[in-house]
Symmetry: C2
Subunit: 347 residues, 2 copies
DNA sequence: AACAGTATTGCAAATGTTTTCATAAGGGCT
DNA sequence: AGCCCTTATGAAAACATTTGCAATACTGTT
C-alpha cells in the first residue's frame, strides 16, 4: 500500500494539530517554540516519517546547504585526503557536498562548475589557480563564495588556500643537489592548464639553474596521472639517460611509477637512483622503500577551505576582498633518496 | 557595482521579449519552440548570464537531477575507482553527484542518507548490504530508487550490483592452498557492520576448513583501513606467528601494510611469505612486487550502478521488484604469492 | 473566403517551504 | 479588574520555476 505520495510539512502540521509555520519553526528554530508544542511536532515528524525538503527551503531562503568541490580527478589517492577533510569540515557545519571532476580539462571545469551553480551551491572550492576566463566570470557574476585550494599566489584572482608549489619544486631539487646529485631527471605531468605542475616544474628548473645545471629535454619526460603510464615513460627515460642519478617527479603517483620502472630495470633505489615525489599522498610513506617527498598539508587545506567557505556563507558582509592563506610545505626525507653513488659514471 | 541580485527567468524573458514560460521551454524542451524564438532566448540567456535554478525546478517537477553516493570513506584509493566511474556515469546522464561518507558507522550512514534525501536526490547508491533497519525504512518510505553496490546477495533487501565477497575470500585462500601453503594468517578489518569484510572472511575460513585447516586466533589480526595501522598489526602477527608462510588480507590496503611489515622484518615476499589482497585497487598492480589480489570489477560496478539508477529515475514504472546483478571476480596472480618454501619449518 | 488543424506562445496555478506580520494567550503589575 | 508586555502561534505572501490549458497565429484545403 506504498503510495508514491511524499509527506510534506502540511501533513505533519495536520498530524500534530498545528500550522505549517510551526512545523517549520520546530525544524529550523526550535528555540522559538513552546517546549510542549515542539515535542508534539517532533513526535509527529517521527510518526509521519517527514523529511524536510531542502530544495523548497533553498528556493525561499537563498541557502541550499550544499557546498561544491571541483577536483581534476578522484583517481588514486591524489585528492583523496583533500576530499576527505574538506567533506569532513563542511559536513560538520551542516552542509552536504556536491562533487564534480573535470579530468584536467578546464573547459569541462567550466561546465561542471555551471552545473554546481545551477544547484545553487552556497560556496565552491576549486583546485588550483588556472581557470578559464569564463570560469572566473561565472563565479563573479553569481557572486558565490569561492576558494582556490592547493595552490597559493599573492596575486590570485580569487581567494586561495594552499602551498607554494614553486617552493615545493625547489625544495625537492635542492634536496637532491644537497645529496650531491648533478644528473637529475624530471618526470612531470603536462603543465598546460595546470598551475601546480607548472610551478613545481619551474621551481625545480630554478634550483637546478642556481646550481649551474641546465636540464636537457632528453632528461625530461611527461607522465600522466597514472602509475602505469608513469612507469612506462620512466622506463624510457632511464634507458635513454642511463647516467641519471636522481629523478624528481611532479607528484607521488608519478614517483611510484618511477620506482616501479627502476625496480623492473634492476636499478636499486636509492643506491643507484634517488627518487623524490611531491605531495605526500596517503600511502607514500608506507611503500617500501618509503617515498621521499614534499608534504603538502592536504588535511589542513581541506579543513581550512571548508571552514572558510562556511564562514563566508554565514556572514555575507565579510565577502569582499580576497583572502590568501599560505601553508607551509616540508621535505619528508624517507627511503628513496640518498647521497649520490661514489662510483661516478666513468667516461 | 556588483549587485547581489541574481538573474532569474523573468529577467531573461524581459530581455528576450517573451514570457517566462517560453524561457523555461527553451531550457527544458527546446524542440517545442520556434527556432527563431529559441535562438532569441538563447541569446538573452547568454547576454544576461542566467543560470537556471535547479532547486526551483526540483520543487515543481519532483526531480532534482542529483544522485547520491554513500561510501564508508574516501581515504586511500579504496573507493576511488567506484566513485570515479559512478560519477562518470551519472554526470554523463545529466546528474550531479552528492557525496557522503560515514566512516564505517551505520548510524552515521543513516544520518547522511537522510541529509541526501532532504536534498531530494533522485536516486542513491550505498556501499554494501549491511544497513540499519532505519536506513532501509527510510529508503522505502521515501521510495527513492536505491542500489547497494560492491556486494551481492540473492536475498538482498534492495537491488544490488556487486561481487560475491565470500567467493572472493575463498578464491584468495584457495590460491594459497594450491601453492602448497598450510600455515596461513589472516588480516581483516572489523567485520561488524561490514558485510564485505565478513563475507570475505567467511569465504577464507570456508576454504581453509575444506582443506582441513582450522586457523587459530593467534594467526589472525584485525587491521583498520590504513596502511600504517595494518603494518603495525602485521608486524605483531608476523612476530608471534613466525611460521606463517602466507597471509590473506581483507583488502589491498591491508595487504600493502602487510608488505611493509614483511619488508621491515626482512621477510622476503614471496620467497618467505606470500601475501594476497582483495580488491585490486588502483596501484596495486604497480607496486613492487606487484600485489596478487582478487579483482572486484569496480569500474563496471560504478558504471552499472549509475546507469541503473538513471534508468529507474527515467521510468518509474520499472521500479518495483529487486534487481540483482552479480559480477565476476577474478584472481590476479602477480608477484606477492609463490609456492610455499621447500624448507618447511622443522619442529 | 471560410474552415480545420497544427504550431507557438502566454496566463496562471501549483510546487513546499520560510518568514513577516498580526493575533491570541498568559502573566505580572497597579 | 484592567493594562501592558512577552511569548507562542497562525495566515498569507513570497520564492523561481514548470506545465496544463487556453489563446493566437499560421498553414493548407475546399
Amino acid at each position: 500500500m506504498k503510495s508514491a505520495y511524499r509527506i510534506g510539512i502540511a501533513d505533519v502540521a495536520r498530524a500534530a494539530g498545528v500550522s505549517a509555520a510551526t512545523v517549520s519553526r520546530a525544524v529550523n528554530h526550535p528555540a522559538l517554540l513552546n517546549p510542549t508544542t515542539r515535542r508534539r511536532v517532533e513526535e509527529a515528524i517521527r510518526a509521519t516519517g517527514y523529511v524536510r525538503n531542502r530544495a523548497a527551503q533553498a528556493m525561499h531562503g537563498r541557502r541550499s546547504a550544499t557546498i561544491g568541490l571541483v577536483v581534476p580527478t578522484v583517481n588514486y589517492s591524489i585528492f583523496a585526503e583533500l576530499l576527505q577533510h574538506f567533506n569532513e569540515a563542511v559536513s560538520e557545519l551542516g552542509f552536504t557536498l556536491l562533487l564534480a571532476t573535470h579530468g584536467y580539462d578546464l573547459e569541462e571545469e567550466y561546465r561542471v562548475l555551471r552545473k554546481l551553480l545551477e544547484h545553487r551551491v552556497d560556496g565552491v572550492a576549486l583546485v588550483g589557480l588556472d581557470h578559464t576566463e569564463d570560469t572566473f566570470g561565472l563565479l563573479e557574476a553569481q557572486d558565490v563564495p569561492a576558494i582556490a585550494v592547493w595552490s597559493h599566489s599573492p596575486t590570485s584572482r580569487i581567494s586561495c588556500i594552499g602551498a607554494d608549489n614553486r617552493a615545493a619544486g625547489r625544495l625537492a631539487a635542492e634536496h637532491l643537489l644537497a645529496l650531491g646529485h648533478r644528473r637529475i631527471g624530471l618526470a612531470f605531468p603536462p603543465v598546460d592548464d595546470n598551475d601546480r605542475a607548472r610551478d613545481r616544474h619551474g621551481g625545480v628548473a630554478e634550483a637546478l639553474a642556481a646550481a649551474g645545471i641546465e636540464p636537457t629535454p632528453a632528461d625530461s619526460v611527461e607522465a600522466l596521472y597514472s602509475i602505469s603510464h608513469s612507469k612506462a615513460v620512466c622506463l624510457d627515460l632511464l634507458a635513454r639517460a642511463a647516467d641519471l642519478t636522481a629523478l624528481v617527479c611532479g607528484n607521488d603517483i608519478i614517483a611510484q611509477g618511477a620506482l616501479a620502472a627502476a625496480s623492473q630495470l634492476g636499478v636499486r633505489v636509492p643506491a643507484d637512483l634517488s627518487v623524490v615525489g611531491i605531495g605526500d599522498f596517503p600511502g607514500s610513506g608506507d611503500i617500501v622503500p618509503a617515498l621521499t617527498t614534499i608534504r603538502l598539508p592536504a588535511r589542513q587545506i581541506g579543513h581550512a577551505a571548508g571552514r572558510y567557505l562556511a564562514a563566508m556563507i554565514a556572514d555575507p558582509s565579510r565577502r569582499q576582498g580576497t583572502t590568501r592563506d599560505l601553508l607551509a610545505i616540508e621535505l619528508i626525507a624517507r627511503g628513496t633518496t640518498g647521497r649520490v653513488r661514489a662510483t661516478a659514471a666513468a667516461p
